[in-house]
Subunit: 150 residues, 4 copies
């Protein structure tokens, strides 16, 4: 059995919002619930995505402009831990922290809270690629800086 | 910073379909693609879900019956590693392997292939809970057996 | 061939925002785009839903409370006309107008605009049903009033 | 109030499967249900899409090839009437019929049945456009023929 090398998520998640840099709010849509009466587990990934797009916008880097400049930021790994269910109409704070830069990748840690209570934690790993070819591309300096790189 | 205990996914994933027990096929919908021209990363989770529902059905355990008996199988963790993009109309083989049983949880490892080439690997962690109360519930014997427990 | 009676959408849609009562804003998620580079047509329905939930909340009628009181508001018909594509990160104004009440149904007309330009129009037909039985239920007085009924 | 011209759906829907040309089967995913315990109304549109893609494939016209040849088939209108709820794990027959060709548009009528019982009917209106420019494009002859045009 060819066991894969360990997955690459290395960022730790914390249950303390103060350990994160940015906060974005989403409200649960009815469409995102499932027959268990709670938010379906797949619906969390668009929340994370919306939060990181909002984070980049807050830094003066709208993702639409990044893409227009020829760089796509691909998701190469996603890891979500569901702690307490989210329900219809919940207002969810998505706390984010960028980190763990490498030559062409970086990571984001997330904490989701509802009224201060932790509902989920997550880490996503991203790779910068040339939009035209899909080839890995060095992180732009501004992104390296955001991720805490030298 | 209160660092969380490590996440719980412990199953290893393999790139060899022969290491998995069951295979389920899905075909990529156009609705599942995104503006990068490939399948959106959130769309993989319903593929995994469809595969494990098909697996349970193949074992004579339709998930609808499990739910009707008062047990929900909640997703408590999901970890996906995206290796090669999936594209519209791709026929995807989702290989699954149940394992790592504990008192009330078990895990499933996945390999997604297209024409024999690995596209993604994943692990999900599941907890059996009482549908009415949401409280953890011991794995039924048949499930413990499927997961390779004593 | 047993031809069905005509569908029930009777409300007219207008391209003038002034003809609508309420405005709710959504921002397009990347997850909602497809490989044509625009928002997938199925993603509009959750926008309409989010807008009508916001409208009810603005009237002091949170949908979660309506459901808790034993009434579900089912969608029995949806009709969308796509005029101009929506794109990632677009800020969409969803204008809504309630109307056409009958004993147990009402309708909502929608106009979606981006920077003042019409992108889509829609009408949904809703039926009030008992949550427990699914049986039709007379519109509550407050809902009848909102819909312009006597 | 500038009332819009009537919407363009002109095809009639029938409750008799024999009035349709093609049948495609989908099985309801758990991810497609909502907190009312039934399939969310937005999830029907991908079923229709999957059915028309399967229909085109059955006619030797895979949609991926149509797109590769420079033509996109845009959805310009969608009209769904929900009759009986769909539930998790239901096996749904999606019956389709192409028709109503114009210079650059055609329509598809749908009947969704579960175990022979009508669950929904729908009509979608499609426009052929140049993939590169988005401009309307005459229906290819084969498509005109499928739609019953001269």
């Amino acid at each position: 059995m060819r066991i894969l090398a360990a997955m690459r998520t290395t960022m730790k998640t914390s249950l303390d919002p103060a350990d994160y840099e940015y906060r974005h709010q989403v409200r649960v849509r009815f469409a995102e619930t499932d027959a268990m009466g709670v938010v379906h587990h797949a619906a969390y990934l668009p929340y994370l995505e919306e939060a990181r797009v909002a984070y980049l916008r807050s830094k003066g880097r709208p993702y639409a402009e990044i893409r227009a400049s020829g760089t796509d930021i691909a998701v190469v790994e996603a890891h979500v831990r569901y702690r307490q269910p989210l329900r219809f109409d919940d207002v969810v704070d998505v706390h984010t922290l960028l980190g763990s830069p490498s030559a062409s990748t970086f990571q984001i840690a997330y904490l989701l809270t509802v009224a201060g209570t932790a509902a989920a934690t997550a880490v996503t790993v991203h790779a910068c690629v040339e939009a035209s070819t899909g080839r890995p591309r060095r992180l732009d300096d501004w992104l390296l800086e955001l991720a805490g790189g030298a």
